[in-house]
Symmetry: D2
Subunit: 292 residues, 4 copies
């Protein structure tokens, strides 16, 4: 088991008309991801609505804030009970056998124009053996061919742009991997949360975007940007792409400041809580069954 | 009440590897749209799976067909119990009051890049009085500024393309209206089905795409292509855009032929079944409550 | 006559492999724009080639610089002998009567996709009286509908993007005006140089991009960004769009710093040199004949 | 020497307002391409203007036609005196050494967005030995990765679209090869004319688009669509892309019919006139010097 202590600070300045927010900053509650000690503090005394999407367990926090500063602090302890699988035996699921709930994830979406990438994807990956290795090959291809470069892309950048321009941030890496997987009829979805253990200062962390691909009978984690130890990825939300799962969707005049994220991995060997490591297995934090 | 008798013939030729299909050709079963005498005939003796999306009542028919011809015939009688509303009293629903299930329909999607149309939409429609009249104005603007021209667009054409090129078919009209509504924070979704009563030979009909906009507390019908008597619109599916609600999504090598659609409106005055007419009210076929 | 004293400082840091440059920072020498007291200083002792395009009089300075800093200082005094025309009598030139040298300027180019804007341009401007007033209407429309916002666009932004996103800088304003004019068969070209007299601190100035439209028998000035007193516009280069007339095209690894531009208008009433003013006439700095 | 007899028939129906045309259907007169026995017949008795662009030798025929049918017949005999070069010794010309007239052909244009392809081009071709072999590699890559498929693209399709969608006709193959070459700082231009000797019925032919790349000190022929015997390519026009060199640019309401092209290679061994063959050398039909 992996245990992560998470702290997240968000700060905004809101214009004179006020603004409406939909946040997705709660860690998802799933069979494999238990969230406890959860504490949310909001600097304005406003009513909030916490809505959980039954299909994905994504939690949306809705509120209407008044003019002036708005600060949110979210803290939680999260236990990750990963499902481990041997990549060598993880097969692709043929389209007729895909659960109906999974089918939409082979379709194109705002930032993942898989419909325009079939020729390329089939040429590049069509001859590879089916299974986890093929999803892995797509992930590796994206990491090898896209340059990580902040401020070269913006909120309208899509996978087609990234396939052309070959530059971007974790969101763009994720969109391109997803679009290529879908072009191969591999269901893929966008996941947001936090990473941990990137190469730079250990313990450094940030809000992060990564990918889940449906293999065998559940969703498996991939990190095309390659900055995280996958075992420590915390999931906030999943959706078709960044349109579904923005950390904050804002309606109104708002100035947003860079978030502060602190992620600590807890070690408690006596109780089987180990520090996350780069394991060779495929990892899933989604049970494949309905959430508890 | 409006009663429609519907018949639909689809024909395909399937390559030597066979092909997988997801059809959306069943009329949706909702509180306001009762479907009976439903008959589906498939020329190949293959198992089928009929999946109903709980959120939208869209029914998806899945099957795997073998090589050679495949014909489907779908027939049904559909009773439409419209909800009528006075357009003058239909208000827009402010973002904070939108049901969480409706919120995704203000977000951009594959063919409706509302994120890129905010400046234009606000300039063109921002000063209009809020309410049904504003959605109507968007609908009328699209109809007035886009030229109906078959074969000028294809399956990758999006609302941004149509706003630029100003040409297309019902699908493109619908995508542009939806994108503009969302850019105004008006939830809008894509609907597919059949129309009836277009100007050409009365009774002529076709598979059709139109729009539903959330006003007050439910979804109201709009037909930006302007070819139908809205009261006779039969709904098959709804979704964010054409990616969600294709009549047929195919996986494999398939030749598709033009579908044949027959739509007949039934009159039975004694029982209150009237022929559809162009009414002045806003129409909804969606209850705003969960489906029965 | 208008007399401008111009000073321009450019600064670069060049990577270890060196870099090749094509500059377009010399004021064009034309019948209506006389350049004298021209002084160019380059901090590296490298050979240079000054090439004048015979068709447009644009001067290109080519050099290969070594690693380390590179500074260019260009100073010149420029006399502008404007051709003034009454806008009311300036007619559009029908396509068959256009000089063959002017014809390419009705065609689409990299940043001006006029081929995709015909429907919009004809709808918006097709019914207007032909002549200077129509070009003026396009210029005013662009200024009214695009928001001036630095850092929202980049070097790949085109007129189609700007028509959609409605935001940009002088380069984007110019590209959109050009594309719309060409869609109306009005020859239009991109001009670069310096402006003067913008609203902010008088005398403030910058490298600038504007537009020339062929009316009657010559090219007339338009400033869709609206930041300049047109009479003080100095022309460096003209071309189909920014691809043709970049201030600096670089081949190699280069860090570029913001240029410094100083523009002073000289008054010498005794000799007929007047300060530039916002006149009502249409202005041209291009003779319509071959350059001297 | 290669001798080609060419016959070209164009047919149009012109709307009630008449229409203006700019044709580029004359074979270019260059040092290496002599045109004689040239005969042009036009079914309407209208004045024509034949303009030769001094920079490229492209000949533009301008005319204004009245309502009704318009037929053009162009016939000519063309002698091709190819410059042959050993591909192994053909070097790329470094940017500082490029003639100023050639420099514009490293810049992006309407259909060749080379500015967006640098990362891809450098990754794919950056490590290859410089010279003819690299241009050859780009040509082969395009031929291998784009599928020839009529009616999948239209007049707004650009190289960025083709790099994504991987399908098109000779025009699209040429645009993509040009954009990739320019992204490598290899000057490349679009050429139009006729091909000969394609695989289907020998002697079959059509209007064709191909590519010229500047190597050593002149422009060399490449045929990325791979349908022609390069030695028999007749050049009508060259330009940055299809915007510059359409066979017919029309202003007005016109219905165009498919052109008829007949190309015959003449053999006259006694005088050194040989049938075209697929030779191993690089071919140029452009002297590198000013045209006679």
């Amino acid at each position: 088991m992996t245990r992560i202590e998470l702290q997240l600070d968000l700060n905004y300045d809101i214009g004179p008309q006020g603004a409406d927010f939909v946040f997705n900053i709660h860690a998802a509650q799933t069979r494999q991801q238990s969230v406890w000690n959860e504490l949310l503090t909001i600097s304005q005394p406003v009513p909030t609505l916490l809505h959980t999407d039954p299909a994905t367990a994504t939690r949306f926090l809705r509120l209407s804030a008044g003019p002036g500063p708005l600060a949110l602090n979210y803290a939680a302890t999260i236990d990750l009970h990963h499902h481990f699988a041997d990549p060598l035996v993880l097969a692709e699921c043929p389209v007729p056998a895909l659960p109906s709930e999974v089918l939409p994830y082979v379709l194109p979406s705002r930032y993942c124009e898989s419909d325009r990438m079939a020729a390329f994807a089939i040429e590049q990956f069509g001859a590879l053996p089916r299974g986890h290795a093929r999803a892995r090959a797509v992930c590796d291809w994206v990491r090898a061919h896209v340059r990580y470069a902040p401020n070269t892309t913006d909120s309208s950048t899509s996978a087609a742009d990234t396939l052309l321009d070959r530059t971007g941030v974790c969101r763009d890496f994720a969109h391109l991997m997803i679009a290529l997987c879908r072009a191969l009829n591999l269901p893929a979805r966008f996941a947001t949360g936090t990473d941990y253990g990137g190469e730079p200062p250990a313990g450094r962390l940030d809000l992060h975007a990564y990918v889940e691909v449906w293999l065998g009978d559940r969703w498996y984690l991939f990190d095309p940007a390659g900055t995280a130890i996958p075992m420590a990825l915390i999931r906030f939300g999943t959706g078709r792409d960044a349109a579904d799962t923005a950390f904050a969707t804002m309606f109104g005049e708002v100035t947003a400041y860079a978030p502060t994220v602190r992620v600590t991995a807890v070690e408690d060997i006596a109780r089987g809580v180990l520090l996350p490591w780069r394991c060779w297995q495929a990892l899933s934090t989604d049970g494949g069954e309905p959430m508890a």
